[in-house]
């Protein structure tokens, strides 16, 4: 226990890093999910093709490999561009934190695309027709009807994606982001107590996923508050 207390500041900082990573990727996940689902349901063949390619690629390759492709791929591209401008430059990469957030968001975004697509399809057509009859524009229909009605249907699936997202934040330690797993690696190389250190990491993740589960229960209750009386 003493060993963990000695590193408590670092663990706290690492926890903040993964929480930050979680929320930044979450914003991207929702963006990819909405874009992907809209593209999959659109009439345009090209949009559907791109969205299908995106989901197949990002759901079929390991998260870890995708992370390596994004991080090392972007580093090679950036370095060669920079060298073309200034031959003095040896190496250039995008910050691992952002590469990690982007890579994770692609994977979970692909899953969210499918969830959102299903939820969009679950909306009663009558509402959309009524809105059109009222003279609402397509933009208004999307933001005022489709999205609010869709997210309620998407909630259970999306809650699971949030858990996967949280767990995927552990991966970024491999490319050097100072998350809690990275902290544990450093700590155990100093105090030779890897079991204690990694178990602490597991406990922190367990606590955070418990928070997500409880939050999602509350959000679900809030989403269905108008049906409370009917139950």
């Amino acid at each position: 226990m003493q060993e963990v207390m000695n590193w408590s500041d670092e663990f706290l900082a690492g926890t903040f890093v993964i929480i930050k990573l979680f929320f930044i990727s979450l914003v991207m996940v929702i963006t990819w999910g909405l874009l992907g689902a809209t593209a999959k349901l659109s009439n345009s063949r090209i949009a559907r093709g791109i969205a299908n390619g995106f989901t197949v690629l990002c759901r079929g390759t390991p998260e870890f490999l995708l992370l390596l492709i994004v991080y090392f791929g972007s580093a090679v591209t950036l370095t060669s561009i920079a060298r073309a401008i200034n031959p003095e430059i040896r190496f250039l990469d995008i910050p691992p934190f952002w590469a990690g957030a982007f890579a994770i968001s692609l994977v979970i975004g692909a899953y969210a695309t499918e969830t959102f697509r299903g939820a969009f399809l679950g909306i009663d057509k009558g509402y959309i027709e009524a809105a059109k009859a009222l003279g609402m524009t397509r933009f208004q229909v999307f933001w005022k009807l489709r999205v609010p009605m869709m997210w309620r249907l998407a909630l259970p699936g999306f809650g699971n994606h949030l858990l996967s997202l949280l767990k995927d934040t552990a991966l970024v330690s491999v490319i050097g982001v100072e998350g809690i797993l990275f902290t544990a690696q450093q700590a155990s190389s100093v105090n030779h107590k890897p079991f204690t250190m990694y178990l602490t990491v597991a406990f922190i993740f367990l606590a955070l996923s418990t928070v997500i589960v409880v939050t999602m229960k509350c959000v679900e209750k809030y989403a269905y508050r108008h049906l409370e009386a009917a139950r």
Binding site: P62, L68, A75, K167, L171, T196, L199, A202, T210
Partner: protein, 228 residues
Amino acid sequence: MTFESSLILESLPRLMDGLWVTLRLFVLALTCGTVLAVGMVLLRISSRKYLSWPVMAYIYVFRGTPILVQLFVIYYGLPQLEFIRTGPLWPFFREPFFCAWFALTLNIGAYTTEIFRGGILGVNKGLLEASKALGMTYAQTFRKVTAPIAFKLCLPAYSNEMISVLKATALASTVTIFDVTGVARKIVAETFAPYEIFLSAAIIYLILAWIIQNGVRLLERRISRYAN
């Protein structure tokens, strides 16, 4: 920066060596994890709390933490404990492949138990009452009615789990195993051509995932050949 296709051809034999390791890890972990889940789900659906609660705790811990962390606890962490290092299992826990297999098996066990439970709960109650009326014992009902139907109900979720496991095997490369991802990382470290090599590795995983998905789809069609 150029895209060198010759590099892909050169590294293909080494990636195939990695594929063998990936497949071995995948099949071993999936088989053992599924067997574990069959045992666990019997405890999980029990009405006796002292049987079902430990399983619930196990599932909660393994589903709530990243596989990478579980793997690190087992591979890097366990040697800290005196009784592991002096115990009879030390030759196993020293091996990275064994640790990766162990972590994956426990993880698959936790997820698959929940999948199986969902399937068992989905079996129509009327069928159970009918078999009771026929005088079948609980064990007979489970073996001849509940289990086959539950198996069919679980298949779609189970095929998703299989693909997750395939993707999770890539994490084994973090504990010095040369699976497809591990080999790819090594080649990239030598050549620094991440696009060519990592994308080839990604295609290998995509093909495997495609095979799994379609294999299960065929199996599903065969199982439900009496349904319509």
